[in-house]
């Protein structure tokens, strides 16, 4: 059994570099060590200049998304033991996002897409708190529950070749969030969200590659949400066509 393993890490320092380059670090191997712990070991003992995001260490905050051997992964949820057979692994910043520094990505565009779909309950008339809570059965919650588990880690965007081609595409997490609210029995804002879903950069850039769902650490299944959104968008298109024929406005 080997007692060391090599990490090949993609470095990028905007003040010095024009493009990313690879730096290799050999570190002690233990079967319980996560890739995040390995990165922290490097920063603490070998190279304090290495920059990487992390927080909870338990796959709930969504901070530590990187590419490990070209697969979008959470570094806290990936373990050196899965790579010890090869004796090495390659770590770089998430695909499809601009790289700020080393393993740190610029997620501003991603956050903007989340905001675009109006990810909050919208009512025709807001109910005053004096009238009590909105009631929802466990069954009603079950309709959207999986889609509500997103931790905004961005791995699905790193996995999505359509987002990689066109960053204007709203992308898996944002479209899943839209579907999450559209399916929520307390929400009455579907018609407002449809405008964004109906665009080319809405659901229609998706070609159901499905890799987003494969890499999601919380089993959200964004691919399902987006393609359910396509059905909703198609129904909306048909109803709109009917309205146009009857002489009404584009809704």
């Amino acid at each position: 059994m080997s007692d060391s393993i090599t990490l090949h890490i993609s470095r990028y320092r905007p003040e010095q570099d024009d493009a990313p380059w690879v730096q290799s670090y050999e570190i002690p191997y233990h079967r319980d060590t996560s890739v995040l712990e390995a990165l922290n070991y490097i920063k603490d003992h070998l190279d304090p200049s290495l920059s990487h995001r992390w927080s909870c260490r338990m796959a709930i905050c969504g901070s530590c998304g990187v590419m490990i051997n070209d697969e979008p992964s959470l570094s806290c949820k990936s373990f050196l033991r899965d790579y010890i057979a090869a004796g090495e692994l390659h770590v770089r910043a998430m695909e499809n996002f601009p790289i700020e520094r080393d393993l740190v990505s610029d997620l501003g565009g991603f956050i903007d897409h989340l905001k675009t779909v109006q990810p909050y309950l919208m009512r025709e008339q807001d109910k005053p708190t004096s009238e009590g809570e909105y009631l929802q059965t466990p069954h009603e919650m079950g309709r959207y529950k999986a889609f509500s588990q997103c931790i905004n880690c961005g791995l699905c965007y790193a996995a999505c070749p359509q987002f990689g081609r066109n960053p204007e595409f709203l992308g898996p997490a944002a479209l899943t969030l839209a579907q999450r609210y559209n399916l929520d029995s307390r929400d009455e804002g579907q018609s407002q969200r449809m405008a964004h879903l109906n665009e080319e950069e809405g659901v229609w850039s998706c070609t159901f590659v499905g890799h987003c769902s494969a890499v999601c650490p919380k089993d959200v299944d964004p691919a399902a949400a987006i393609n359910q959104g396509k059905v909703a968008s198609t129904v909306n298109y048909g109803l709109n066509l009917l309205n146009l024929i009857r002489g009404k406005h584009d809704g």
């Binding site: 905007p14 493009a19 700020e100 520094r101 610029d106 990689g164 499905g210 890799h211 393609n227 359910q228």
Partner: protein, 138 residues
């Protein structure tokens, strides 16, 4: 937000990088043999309108090596398409009413069963129709 982020551009060969992407492209590529097969069907229809001699010539073409190869490839493509398509149906066909929920596994199995039944049924029907034609009945 740094003044000089490194913009990663998607290379044209992006799909070669992982087995998941290659599988996706293969799935999409099944459209090509299917398209060619449709052209073959249309050519057969045309020969049928041109009378018996023309249609018999077309049957002869169906026996040529290239056309046999097309059928083999198209068959594999159709199977791969059907398999991957039915895998995705439960993602879109979600039945979650207040009275009952249909499991994705059930929806998948029903579609697979239906596809198998149609396969056997359509071939059986074709054999039946053509056998009746040979006996002069119908």
């Amino acid at each position: 937000m740094t003044a000089k982020p490194y913009i990663q551009r998607q290379p044209a060969g992006w799909w070669l990088k992982s087995s998941a992407y290659r599988r996706y492209m293969l799935r999409e590529a099944t459209a090509l043999p299917i398209f060619l097969y449709c052209l073959l069907l249309i050519s057969g229809l045309y020969q049928l309108t041109q009378g018996e001699a023309a249609f018999l010539d077309w049957l002869q073409v169906l026996r040529s090596p290239w056309v046999i190869a097309l059928h083999v490839v198209a068959f594999a493509a159709a199977l791969f398409h059907a398999w991957t398509w039915i895998e995705l149906v439960p993602k879109i066909l979600v039945v979650h009413t207040s009275r009952f929920t249909l499991s994705p596994q059930l929806i998948k199995r029903v579609h697979q069963g239906g596809a198998l039944a149609c396969f056997v049924g359509l071939i059986g029907l074709a054999v039946l129709l053509l056998t009746r034609a040979t006996t002069g009945a119908g």
